[in-house]
């Protein structure tokens, strides 16, 4: 693990690396170096993009993008080979207003649905993504639904609150 961290720190500037668990490394970095870092890790053998996630840190007024990469193992790995079992968690922060980021489709092809989902759920526009259409939702919302300031209770009340209950309807008929 130490070798990997040392190697990363010599090749890149401004990385904040910390170990989360025995086989997990977290890297916080500037948003400009994400593409470079991902392709660098891919060349090193971290060729499996497991997930692209996002945290809404509303207090800091920032969105945090989270990329998790790991190894596709090809040989029969026993429990001894430690280095290849790593999951690397790469994080970067972007402003919440008019959130924009670059797509990583050129590096990882399976990023497509993840970025589409983040686009509709967190309102992040990914530059260069060829198909940024709606994935799960039916329509666009003013506040993207997975952001922390989206009030689910208010949304339900606005949408369904005006429908009278059965009791109210019965009363109204009489």
């Amino acid at each position: 693990m130490d070798e990997l961290i040392k190697k990363l720190q010599t090749d890149f500037d401004g990385l904040e690396i910390s170990t989360l668990a025995k086989t997990r490394i977290t890297i916080s970095t500037k948003k400009e170096s994400i593409l470079l870092l991902l392709s660098y890790l891919k060349r090193m053998g971290y060729d499996h993009l497991a997930i692209i996630s996002c945290n809404d840190w509303i207090k800091d007024n920032e969105l945090e993008l989270v990329y998790i990469v790991s190894h596709y193992l090809e040989k029969d790995y026993g429990p001894d080979s430690e280095i290849d079992k790593f999951n690397i968690i790469i994080k970067t922060r972007i402003p919440r207003e008019k959130a924009r980021f670059v797509t990583v489709l050129d590096v990882f092809e399976n990023a497509e649905p993840y970025e589409r989902e983040l686009h509709e759920m967190f309102g992040i526009y990914f530059e260069g993504h060829p198909r940024l259409t709606l994935l799960m939702l039916e329509r666009n919302y003013k506040i993207p639904p997975f952001r922390k300031d989206f009030n689910t209770k208010k949304y339900v009340d606005d949408l369904y609150g005006n429908i009278p209950t059965i009791e109210e309807r019965k009363k109204g008929k009489k």
């Binding site: 945290n55 998790i68 092809e109």
Partner: protein
């Protein structure tokens, strides 16, 4: 020839749930496929941010209808990692047995779906019957047939009832004894082989680029299995093999699923022999209504019956999770791999390929 747009699903016999595909066809050849999820989007990840750590269990298991148990497991693992809880030795074995039962259960359901879709009704009935036998065991153990909520952070909810393992072994013998019949009527049946061989080929390079896991890699001869790579629970204390094939087509994928099921049955026998005779089955956790977990994040993964299942979970030090994000195997299989695999295939094989990729729609939507 004229290009046509064809809607496949969600109300289609060959469709595996609330999911649809928009096909662009020329004659009966598919030029382009657009996966169209979202029919079952319930916003679970958002809902979970509004509930306490323990209250989330009834939500978590409903993410994957066919196989709720691994969802409970991954969420428990995530909470354990954040709160730094250890599972007692006996609890680990009970968990592993429970998860392997779930794997057999899920594979039997998958076998039902595949055989039913291709019109092998006899095999479908058998698979459903055998799944039901196993559901009886689940009911005896947990009180629920489909959703069990048996796991909890720190272990399992309660110990096995008396005589449970004997009954479980009997049930598994019954299921295992039927495998030759399954082989004769289904897996080695030339009617089935003609439908499945050489169909929906996803080769290794493509599979890796599309982020495939689980049986799609195993059908390419890659032994990618989290139970081996990063052993959790009791998997490092038992010997087992990861079945692989080399055909990369729908038929090979189904064979790996069958072999995986047989391997699971054997593994349960081995695990039952090794259970520590005495000990706690769970570690005590604080009052669930006042339980706060220190701020932090973790990424945990386990091997569900469909492949690598991951969970990214963040706590801000409160009584509720700050962010939960599931990385489900069907997400990549149903969206990227499926679109690629369908290109150039026949309309008649759409359902065939889709079920061979083992996609479960609720898992995509979450």
């Amino acid at each position: 020839m004229r290009e046509l747009e064809l809607y496949f699903g969600p109300q289609h016999l060959g469709m595996v749930g609330n999911f649809s595909i928009t096909l662009k066809v020329e004659g009966d050849k598919i030029i382009k496929a657009d996966a169209n999820p979202g029919y079952l989007h319930r916003g679970f990840e958002k809902l979970m941010e509004e509930r306490t750590w323990m209250q989330n269990f009834p939500l978590v298991c409903r993410i994957n209808v066919v196989e709720p148990d691994h969802m409970e497991l991954i969420y428990s693992m995530g909470v354990e990692k954040l709160a730094d809880i250890e599972v007692p030795e006996r609890g680990k074995f009970l968990r592993s047995i429970y998860c392997e039962m779930a794997r057999v259960n899920s594979h039997l359901f998958g076998l039902w779906a595949y055989s039913n879709m291709l019109g092998f009704d006899t095999v479908a009935h058998w698979a459903m019957y055998h799944r039901d036998l196993l559901l009886d065991r689940f009911e005896e153990l947990t009180g629920g047939r489909v959703y069990h909520i048996y796991l909890r952070p720190g272990g399992v909810r309660r110990d096995f009832p008396e005589g449970f393992t004997t009954k479980l072994v009997e049930t598994l013998h019954k299921i295992g004894g039927k495998v030759p019949d399954y082989n004769q009527t289904f897996f080695e049946n030339s009617l089935f082989r003609k439908r499945a061989e050489g169909i929906g080929i996803v080769n290794l390079d493509e599979a890796k680029r599309m982020g495939a896991v689980g049986h799609i890699l195993k059908a390419n001869g890659v032994k990618y299995d989290i139970r081996k790579i990063e052993p959790y629970d009791a998997y490092d204390q038992v010997e087992f093999d990861i079945p692989t094939q080399t055909g990369a087509d729908a038929y090979s994928r189904l064979l790996t699923i069958r072999d995986d099921m047989i391997e699971s049955v054997h593994m349960i026998f081995k695990l039952i022999d090794k259970i520590p005779p005495e000990g706690d089955v769970y570690t005590k956790t604080p009052n669930p209504f006042k339980w706060t977990i220190p701020a932090g994040e973790s990424y945990v993964r386990c091997e569900s019956s469909r492949g690598e299942l991951g969970l990214y979970i963040v706590s801000d030090g409160g009584e509720k999770p700050y962010r939960v994000h599931f990385n489900t195997p069907s997400y990549n299989h149903g969206l990227t791999v499926l679109e690629k695999a369908l290109e150039g295939e026949n309309i008649a094989d759409v359902g065939n390929i889709m079920i061979s990729l083992y996609v479960v729609a609720p898992e995509i939507d979450r």
